[in-house]
Symmetry: D2
Subunit: 341 residues, 4 copies
């Protein structure tokens, strides 16, 4: 068999581990050939690819990024791919395509699959917000990086009687904030799933100071937003011309808290460090298993599906299940986190 | 309510996170009192305990070890506890006991439960070999430590054309070897679940050298053993008086390989570093959730059970399910690992 | 003897290691008593202090922050301290004061010393910009954190053909940017010591892309500034009302580069994670040695001086030498860094 | 110019950083050509080398090991090299040779230099025992790995009332034991420089237990040895046939302590993890500077010398100074460490 593989969308620790695993399983386990398209679907459309043998994937297991490169999807070009997918498969002489990516990529994968391309998807997102899989690789690494940052900030907050506001990734789902907040022992966690009341945070900090714990760390997802009207001061930070001076919820929340508490509050925006670099052992194992099972699915002819973690097993689920609904933090998980402030 | 808590058995990253979570949930969420028995069941029998309030558990989330101490179980004294468990509950005026521990502790917990003590167990083992739960806290940290070691050893092996044999923990189940071996990209993984053929390892190394990869890393669980007769030379290392000169499978395998390959093979025995120190974010979250749900179970009167991870949920399972059978690495998982050599 | 100790100024990994070392050496080595003033000079003036014995400093060696707390200095209150320093020494019955802090603290220490207080200073700054000592503790940790961030960002930059601008600490001296830039292999390093030409950075990135290296990482100290007129576009980012929309050199430089290069450029502002948390082994050793030698100096009556690293030795240097001039990155060090782009 | 480079001796984090720096400085800074000999002096003698351009050293800065490979020296072959060094230089058309290595390599370098080869050495040892330089790269990484291990072991020791004996590298000099012991807060440190009295260790542990600190961690260099007669029991462990059953000082000391203290004492032998893998930021900077200055020395014609750290400067020192005497831990440094038990 001849299998094509590509990585698309934002960076995510573990991409190289999937690529390596696909190549190992396909080449060693089945005697297949593997080709890698460069820069995501662009490589597929423009004919940029290279053969991937054992040497090509040597030493990449622990490396961040993707040796194949990645690029944003353009809708028009994807439609172009869907319309010509038979021709594309013929052009590269591939029996299957394994696209690795997030919601956008999997939607594209589904489009190609519906149009007749033999596709097996591998889900990828540091945000952990893809339905139908218990976890995605990259998430554990992101949580680990954020937790280490919270650990570091906590000692400073404590020594200097300060409030620290840590903004972590998560535009639509708050998984990173939830788990790094729990793991780091943040005293407040704000998620996109539920508008937060600044009053509650103020009260929490004041109670802490009252019982002698003169610091607090608040972990806020970039997509979290305050309940309406609950953040009057940071709004006041919008100047007379209507320009907001503090961008991002982390910066704004720090201003609001400093104003209302009369205590130093400092924002830290973690940003891209959460999505690059060496994956954790957990993510390497999950990524490796995803790659292995994707190849097996190809050989079973189990197309139009993607790999998914279900408990301790890797299952194959319809691509449709992955992309119809975002996986958001359920209330029960928020409750668990709230009680440990 | 008044809840007693204790930690027993070997060290495991995340113990303090459970203690903290139990105290937070019980005290803040329910207005309970919590007392901690010192050095496991010994503290329960000998009356060594201390009250645990929020201050007592402040700052321990990320700390390894257990603030309550731990000690080995003696069977006789456990029987003593079981026989007097009503009296014990009365003596400390506790409405429930939450023992945190491994197979031995959970067996003891079951004994006490059968004798009438209101018990909610929390499973603990870095080996991940307790049935009825997908994972245990401590395991992820152990795998992380072992993986980092393999990462380090790999570069040396490669530069110096060497075979490295890394012995990791796992007496009866090979989970740590399996996952750190996969994550570290070990070229051979030996588990207690299946006797390994040294011939296979020799062949694998020779094939690697033949195709220009002049090094190999082999990850071996301390409980792994060679197929009968497959390790003649390390046996030869037993001297004329019948004393084995190389103790431990890691040391013995290195000798055997060096002899048969005619190449340098070095053993590294990771030992106790795998079970101490700061837990990973994953383990802190799991431990915190276990603690939270243990308290909820106490308040529901859901005794004789223990917390367990099932997919993404925390479930309560009968203590009996945990201790009747060891959770070993299934063949399917070994197959996944084998193909990525 | 009775020795007072305090920590002042911003947070810095290693403060607790100094405190622990002073207590160990004084108590065990000399039979001294040690008291710790809380929240820097405030505790000295307001009478907030506590005795520090071996138990008080147990387990703090690897912990970030300072168990004594810290607070900003107010000039007036310092003058108050200087004017009453004889009375202060008498009030607490101390034979010596060991203040641990940065430039401000050491200036205060010198003031107190000149006024007759028996003072031995310990220099502290993550910025490494105190003259008269080869290095300060905290710096190595900060460089380590920044380097790990650059390592992570590099893989993302490479996979996604992006320019990453990492802003690290260093308002007046660029040591952190210099060393983390070198260690992380940044392709451009901008220091406060020398205005940078954006043209040079643009040219460097374009040359990299031209030879197939389609990414770049630029490490910029928060105190770095562009040569006059060299950053026209980020200036353009100031809106029609004269408000600058992008604060901080990191954010501004990313805008400028993105505009001029027509390629994605992303800023990451590391912020406070650089100055908190567990110190590296290097910083723990240096901090411990500083503490030990400070106590020895006290016992020799070697006052008005501070500990300093000179080669591999700890020397005592006049406080005056530390505070008269900032230690900035010399041209020779910049040359070394430039050639490794 | 055309410069040859090689790496010899045991593995050491930072080797690749030197290679990369030499290539960058030579190629970009001077327009030189660089060739790398494979597997140390063997490649020089046997004609195994490859050109090193910017692409060849791309991405290796943070990688452990050496892309050039390394191998043990054989004295005879070295003499062969010395006798033919003019011919060798002619054969490869090189104007200078930069060998990177430890004592053996630098001795060989000196031999070649004396025989007329234009040589600039770069010292390398994780043991930090080369005279004439304040530090060597690799050492900081080794100390960091050992310190992290001690951190982890300490929590287990404390929770389980145990004595832990950690054996670290250092056959002839105890720098790693000294600094990791100080950084990890070990309660006893045993160095090759001074025979240790087991009685002192026993007394220390007993005093700790007496004051409620029921654990201890002892850090012992592999080359440390007990004062004569001070270890009777581990000697007893030699069996009736005169075979020692416990190899290595770490194992033996644990047996001795367990026997005499009647408390659990566990050995951990860190081994090769100390000398592989990603170098710390410190080591990457030092290695990069060494590489840069080696090239500068070549261009100045400053042969027969090696790079050395002196304070904050890189100096060139005669190869003779490096190899005549091992740099051992001075008494003053031991005193500092002893007082912080």
């Amino acid at each position: 068999m001849r299998i094509g593989i590509l990585t698309a969308g934002g960076d995510c620790p573990g991409l190289n581990a999937v690529i390596r695993s696909v190549v190992h399983r396909a080449v060693v386990g089945h005697g297949d050939e593997v080709i890698g398209f460069e820069d995501g679907f662009k490589g597929l459309l423009d004919g940029h690819f290279r053969p991937l043998d054992l040497n090509a994937v040597s030493g990449i297991l622990a490396r961040g990024g993707t040796i194949l490169g990645s690029a944003r999807l353009e809708r028009d070009r994807l439609r172009e791919a869907a319309e010509n997918c038979e021709e594309l498969a013929r052009r590269y002489d591939i029996d299957a395509l394994i696209p690795i990516g997030g919601e956008g990529t999997l939607t594209a994968a589904r489009m190609l699959s519906d149009a007749g391309m033999p596709v097996v998807g591998v889900p990828k997102t540091i945000d952990n917000d893809i339905s139908a899989t218990d976890r995605t690789f990259g998430f554990d690494t992101a949580v680990g990086v954020a937790t280490e940052a919270i650990d570091r900030l906590k000692t400073t907050a404590e020594s200097h009687q300060r409030v620290m506001v840590v903004e972590v990734m998560g535009r639509h789902a708050g998984w990173i904030a939830l788990e790094s907040g729990m793991a780091g022992g943040a005293h407040g966690i704000c998620l996109p799933e539920r508008p937060f009341e600044v009053d509650d945070l103020v009260k929490m900090v004041e109670e802490r100071f009252a019982r002698g714990k003169k610091f607090a760390v608040i972990c806020v997802a970039e997509g979290a937003h305050p309940a309406e009207g609950s953040m009057p001061y940071a709004k006041g930070a919008i100047d007379q011309y209507g320009h907001e001076r503090f961008q991002g919820i982390g910066n704004r929340l720090a201003v609001e808290l400093e104003t209302r508490l009369g205590k130093e509050a400092r924002p830290v925006i973690l940003g891209h460090v959460q999505r690059g670099g060496t994956p954790t052992a957990y993510d390497r194992v999950l990524a490796t298993r995803f790659g292995w099972h994707a190849v097996e699915a190809v050989h079973r002819g189990d197309f139009g599906r993607m790999t998914a973690l279900r408990g301790t097993d890797i299952a194959m689920v319809p691509l449709a299940d992955a992309v119809t609904q975002l996986k958001r933090v359920p209330v029960a998980r928020m409750d668990e986190a709230e009680s440990v402030f």
